[in-house]
Amino acid sequence: MKMKLSDLTNHAGEWLRGSGPMSEIVISSRIRLARNVTGFPFLTRCTRHQRQALEQKVRETILAADLSSQVLYVDLENAPDMDRQLLVERHLISKPHAGAEGARGVAIAENETLSVMVNEEDHLRIQCLRSGLQLEEAWEQINKVDDKLEAALDWSFHPRFGYLTACPTNVGTGIRVSVMLHLPALKLTGEIEKLFRAAKDMKLAVRGLYGEGTEATGDFYQISNQTTLGKSEDDIISDFKHAIVPKIIEWEQHARRTLRDDRTVQLDDKVGRALGILRSARLIASEETLLLLSHLRMGVHLNRVKDIDLRTINELFLLTQPAHLQRIQGRKLEGDVRRAVRADYIRQRLGVA
């Protein structure tokens, strides 16, 4: 069965279902592998012709590799802007990949838990994205995909340096393990600094909702490893699973309990205001939406709001983003029209109080 890009729009991907372990705090687990193919220079040194030949070779390999019963391949060079934006919002491609030029693409499979970017910074960027804390499952899945692709493609590999990547900061395993955390209580209680200090001590990067160079909007923080050389994939994942993530979860849970037990009025005020605005606004920007949904999400988890579930909120985080909103409406929306449509959509999904 052939998949179309439009099939993706009307629901959130698996990773946003809010179904995985610890999903009230851990939104998603992501693992990506950087791989390059021998016989081609890295992308900044590829001629236009080499770039096209590489894209074709990798695309054909992916489609022949039997990665999944359904694989959607999007030719990003010729895709409309809106489609590329949509894929960024769904975390299936990176912002630089959307905005780049020349032959490039992305393969999407397994209910959007798997995507393979072709001709990004490296020849291939394979990623697995799963709901909640599921790093080992993501590793198992991506490891198999890597094996299948390696059966047909010769990876650039050096006995000392490992998998060779365009940027030496990715060399070795070429792995980036990230978890997306929702930490509204640490932010409200002013303890979020703890996270930054701990991350610095453990050589981890803290980023926003859309990765490199983005702000932590809506209290979402993406924590990822920076060391890729001299440490095995299993060790990196194990550190996340056993040391790093449980600690942060504990801090956030503690902060949420403190808010609920000792600062109940302040908490209810925040949550009530968020719900009030979301249910009453007639014009709303995406930034404000993220912030209010963040407070509402915490309120739902702490049982301060009883008639809304986490899944609805998770979906709203995605479906109120510009490209999704326009795709659902089936037309281009700008300025106040877009803000009005967003406000209508939110009111419809949250119901009127």
Binding site: N36, T38, P41, F42, T44, R45, E121, N143, D146, D147, E150, D154, W155, S156, F157, H158, P159, R160, F161, G162, Y163, L164, A166, C167, P168, T169, V171, G172, T173, I175, K203, Q226, T227, T228, L229, G230, K231, S232, E233, D234
Partner: protein, 164 residues
């Protein structure tokens, strides 16, 4: 403010401490360049300034860099973009890359972890090549530490891996 030497506008302000005495100088660009040996180029873009600074302090000059014979990239070009041009560059720039890798990867310089199952260019399975690289490194360390018992063991392991 006028330049201390001529009548032009002073744009370079220097404070020197000599023998505990503070001397302030106000110079125009030309006088600063001539008298103090300070090359001042106005309106130099910030990235160029930084690149020059890095070049001077890493002891590298743009002119001396020879390029990779496969992708053409020079070390200076890599330093500007942060991206290497091809797989060969890791070998070519190995010496210069090492301190960079040490900083980026918590002092590690050798790969540990997954290895492709397919044979590398030499015909020796990749897994064994990786083992050999590590064993040789350990051997060098053992010799340096004058731990000859361990060195002998490693030597035997290397021989076995080479022929095995």
């Amino acid at each position: 403010m006028k330049c201390d030497n001529c009548n032009k506008n002073a744009t370079v302000h220097l404070t020197e401490i000599k023998g505990g005495k503070k001397i302030e100088k106000h110079l125009c660009e030309q006088c600063a360049a001539q008298n103090e040996g300070l090359p001042v180029k106005s309106h130099m873009p910030i990235n160029e300034l930084l690149t020059n600074f890095v070049m001077q302090h890493s002891g590298l000059q743009k002119e001396t860099g020879t390029g990779c014979d496969q992708c053409g990239i020079t070390w200076a070009e890599f330093r500007q973009s942060g991206l290497l041009g091809c797989a060969n560059d890791y070998q070519l720039f190995e010496k210069d890359l090492t301190p960079l890798l040490l900083r980026a990867h918590e002092g590690m310089t050798h790969h540990v972890g997954k290895v492709p199952t397919r044979r590398g260019g030499s015909g020796v399975p990749m897994k064994r090549q990786v083992d050999l690289t590590r064993l040789r490194k350990d051997l060098a360390k053992a010799v340096e530490a004058e731990d000859y018992e361990r060195a002998a063991k490693l030597r035997d392991q290397i021989r076995q891996a080479e022929t095995g």
